[in-house]
């Protein structure tokens, strides 16, 4: 879960990482009560990058300028996203801009400290100059100093910057974050440092043990897939532009099914992973419930020619899944729903096949055959 810049900076402040005086702006008129002296910078609070180039960052010398700039930014789309909040911040002229980040390295299964003397907008160009330090054992500040020295820092800057890295790591560890990034960390000639922009990504799995972060999630509209909020959060939905709905149990299986539909010339409209295989909360009828929820969502939110259901290796026998489909079909007449194609494997397959055949739903135990039928129906 990405945080907005101003939320990230609130966490920085709690951790003692220096930030500029700033104020959250919900409406342009909030600028009349601005407590920061001019000149100020107004920054669009969106989840995507590239807002500077898009015009989402503007300077203002006085209140009139600021209100005009704020109105512009509120109406400016950054890669399709409009801000609901701006951040007004004191203007600052850095002498040097550093890049710092803490992330998780999947293959090493350890946190990674990243840093570069080419910070700010230069970092993308100088990606190969980013230095790395693996936090192999439990963190201790010497890992931060290692990074500072790899970055080529000298003298007082070593302790100054490693102190910031240490605080970033503590934030990362205490809040279970996926990413803490400061870009740029401004360094002044007098040896002060200041986090001018920051990115924080909270880990969704750990959110339930961080009520403060979970509250941020509620606080603001979420980016992107708004409609999926009607589904349980464990059910993952991806929307596309075709006419075949795909409903599977398991992420890998969903992707594989999507690939097969595409390879067979079909056009997927979406694919929905029912999840739950290793979900601790698993109630005995989880799969049946989710099939029902998934089908309900699909027929209400997408214009489909066919829905392909591919369920593999569940502990729920095929006949019980067939029963759920039976209920679903009874609730809706043929004109109100697209045809179904089912691929089932597991216990009581033959019983399920027979009962669904009676309802005109083709059932396959071979995946390729189910794909072929679904694609044919979608074109028909």
């Amino acid at each position: 879960m990405n945080l907005l810049e101003y939320q990230a900076k609130e966490l920085f402040q709690q951790m003692g990482i220096p930030i500029l005086p700033s104020q959250r702006i919900d409406h342009p008129k909030d600028l009349k009560g601005l407590k920061i002296p001019y000149p100020v910078v107004l920054k669009s609070q969106v989840y995507t990058g590239g807002r500077g180039k898009a015009g989402g960052i503007r300077f203002a010398e006085n209140t009139i300028d600021a209100i005009a700039a704020a109105q512009t930014i509120f109406h400016l789309s950054i890669k399709g996203h409009y801000p609901t909040v701006l951040l007004a911040e004191a203007k600052y002229e850095p002498d040097q801009e550093l890049y710092l980040a803490v992330v998780l390295d999947r293959s090493q299964r350890r946190p990674l400290l990243l840093g570069s003397r080419a910070g700010g907008i230069e970092v993308q160009a100088a990606v190969r100059h980013i230095q790395q330090v693996v936090v192999d054992e439990e963190f201790s500040p010497f890992y931060a100093r290692r990074l500072a020295i790899k970055m080529g820092l000298q003298g007082d800057l070593i302790e100054l910057v490693s102190g910031i890295i240490e605080k970033m790591y503590r934030l990362f560890a205490e809040k279970d974050l996926d990413l803490v990034e400061i870009n740029p960390l401004a360094v002044s000639l007098s040896g002060d440092v200041m986090a001018l922009d920051g990115k924080v990504t909270a880990n969704i799995s750990a959110l339930a043990r961080h009520p403060d972060l979970a509250a941020l999630r509620e606080q603001l509209p979420r980016p992107g897939i708004g409609a999926s909020t009607a589904l349980p959060s464990e059910m993952r939905l991806v929307e596309l532009n075709g006419n075949i709905g795909i409903l599977c149990n398991g992420a890998g299986l969903a992707m594989s099914t999507l690939d097969l539909v595409n390879q067979a010339g079909g056009k997927p409209a979406n694919f929905l992973n029912l999840g739950g295989e290793s979900d601790y909360r698993l109630p005995p009828n989880l799969l049946q419930e989710r099939v029902q929820q998934g089908l309900d969502w699909m027929i209400q939110n997408a214009d489909l020619n066919v829905i392909l259901i591919n369920l593999v290796g569940s502990v729920v026998p095929c006949d019980q899944i067939a029963a759920v489909i039976g209920v679903y079909l009874n609730q809706r007449r043929a004109g109100q729903r697209p045809p179904l194609v089912m691929r089932l494997v597991g216990q009581n397959f033959e019983t399920a096949k027979q009962s669904l055949a009676a309802l005109d739903v083709p059932v396959f135990d071979q995946l390729d055959a189910a794909i072929a039928r679904a694609v044919a129906l979608s074109k028909g």
């Binding site: 999947r106 192999d136 398991g250 992420a251 890998g252 999507l258 601790y280 593999v312």
Partner: protein, 297 residues
């Protein structure tokens, strides 16, 4: 390889939703589930398996075990695994999904130090067909044989196993290393185990988009694995930068942002091809490639 029908198995979290469902299935498959652990439930029985409050109490009563399968809720997985390690259990299978990544980092540091093998989390565990079930694999899809199956998925693993079985290709083992971002053991570790396993003639590696496990595995195979390996990658046509279940979670925020293409299906397939490893276009093609590999041995 040490997973045989002689092996003694502990189930932690045996009274929870997952434990109550799968411990009896494991036992029904012939796995020697000698004890269960669930704090506060000591003295109870689940499918005639005795339940203890602590791992050390369980081991005190039933003796040493070879593997523990952990079904506890996500925020208790780390503690359960550390309890098992403290009791000197050196093979741990984590089934539960949703374990916070930094818990896994702490567990990985500890497991590396004491040389403990961790499978999962968010994993179907391990099945050695005809011998032992350590997790949630549906046994009816599997049959004994010589194909070693490694995967990051759950149900897609079952799909591939079923198609192998239907094609007459039995399995020496199937391991789901886990779908979460940080998992206890890597493809490389398992490739090495299967390389040394007498029962395994050919290895099938089922990957997904996201992360760099497959790229790293491909390089490792080229360097260190002599047995034939067949690869398959799910998500070739999945849209980029969309978190979808566990797959591809990392693509979104970090690596892709820097303009490198690690984690895509193209990158993974290219890595396998460069290592000389045949890549199946679809699950049903895997058995053909396996047969081809076996026939040329």
């Amino acid at each position: 390889m040490s997973f045989t029908s002689d092996h003694k198995v502990l189930v932690q979290g045996i009274t929870g939703a997952l434990g109550v469902l799968y411990a009896p299935l494991m036992k029904a498959y012939g796995t020697q589930v000698v004890a269960g652990v669930a704090p506060g439930h000591g003295g109870q029985r689940v499918a005639d398996i005795p339940v203890f409050d602590l791992v050390e109490q369980a081991l005190g009563a039933v003796g040493k075990v070879d593997t523990t399968v952990i079904f506890v809720e996500p925020y208790r997985v780390l503690d359960a695994a550390l309890e098992a390690i403290a009791a000197e259990i050196r093979q741990i299978v984590l089934i539960t999904e949703g374990v916070p990544p930094l818990d896994m980092v702490r567990l990985a540091r500890k497991a590396d130090r004491v040389e403990t093998l961790i499978v999962g989390p968010d994993s179907p565990g391990i099945i050695v067909p005809g011998q032992v079930l350590l997790g949630t694999h549906p046994p009816e899809f599997y049959t004994p044989g010589s194909v070693g199956l490694l995967s990051r998925s759950g149900t897609l693993t079952y799909e591939v196993a079923l198609q192998l079985t239907q094609a007459g290709l039995g399995q020496s083992i199937a391991v789901g290393i886990g779908g979460d971002r940080i998992v206890g053991s890597s493809f490389q570790q398992w490739l090495q185990i299967l390389e040394e396993d007498d029962q395994t003639d050919v290895i099938v590696l089922v990957g997904e988009i996201g992360g760099d496990s497959e790229e790293t595995a491909a390089r490792y195979i080229a360097e260190a694995i002599d047995k034939p390996v067949i690869a398959y990658i799910a998500g070739r046509t999945a849209p980029k930068n969309q978190p979808m279940g566990h797959a591809g979670a990392i693509i979104a925020s970090l690596v892709a942002g820097w303009g490198t293409e690690v984690g895509t299906a193209d990158s993974k397939i290219a890595a396998f091809k460069e290592a000389g490893i045949p890549v199946a276009d679809r699950p049903s093609q895997i058995s053909d490639l396996v047969k081809k590999a076996l026939s040329s041995m």
